[in-house]
Amino acid sequence: MVIMVELIPLWFYLITSVIYSSSAIIGFLVSYFAFRAYRMTKNKVHLFLFLGFLIISLGFVTLSATSIYIYTTLEIYKKSSVSLNLLNYQGFRTYYILSAIGYILLTLMYLPKKVMNKLFIIHAPIWYASSFNFHLLSIVLLLFVIVQSIINSVKRKSLNAYLVTFAFICLLIFHSLLILTSFSQSMYITANIFLIIGFLSLLIMLIRVNIK
């Protein structure tokens, strides 16, 4: 999916850069704590949580860098070109690839060990498809993660579990709205609001985990 530079208000590129950077920082924090868990337990599931959030966060770093570059070029140097559109497209494409890999790892986290290897083979051909398919893949994977997360929330009835479920739902809305960006720029703005709300929810969970 191509998001045209002109479709998005220029001032919002600066805001999205902050949103993507904040999401990346929170994602790296989740990843760091998951790594600490893996270091102690050597449990493969914790490794998937660590790598999943690490790769998703790297995707947001790419988006943040793209946004700030586009903002700088358009606002400061007043240059608009086809290559800028291409850069925007490549930035998002890299993010889609990274987020799809990240969500696959999060999906593996919830699967029984026997199914894990088979699923990698099923997903492999989809990786070569278009950005739209990456998007769709992320949505399908997130739906699975959300179902598992809801089951956990109902079972545990803990605020931390609700916060994680809410964060994944926000990520799902973010991806769903991004598909509709071609029709309306407000979808892009709303999508990013959901993204930051989702990651703030994860941040609250992390704070509760560490100070409770």
């Binding site: 704590f33 102690m40 914790h46 997360s149 956990n152 931390n160 992390l206 985990v209």
Partner: protein
């Protein structure tokens, strides 16, 4: 049906029992508190002793197991990890 506890969970259960008893506990208290057999208790205690998480102390002729600084740190870290894994609904 309850899931089988991992080695790490058993270590944590033992350390939690000792912490509950104000940092020092008799072997029998640990045995019942952590729900272990005599043979496995010795194996786990030896492991915790050799890794420096607990130490053996004498109190009125009784042999007690006390938490070390490293043991307390392990408890704090494992509590955080338990809360994180519970939030995501994944096993510890």
């Amino acid at each position: 049906m309850s899931e089988k506890r991992s080695k790490l969970q058993i270590f944590m259960d033992i350390l939690f029992v000792i912490q509950k008893e104000n940092g020092k506990a008799k072997p029998t208290h640990i045995l019942y508190g952590a729900n272990l057999s005599h043979s496995s208790l010795k194996e786990y205690l030896d492991n915790l002793l050799s890794n420096g998480f607990i130490k053996e102390v004498k109190d009125n002729k009784h042999s007690l197991y006390a938490l070390t600084e490293k043991g307390y740190e392990f408890i704090n870290e494992s509590r955080k990890i338990r809360r994180l894994t519970e939030a995501f609904g994944i096993p510890m």
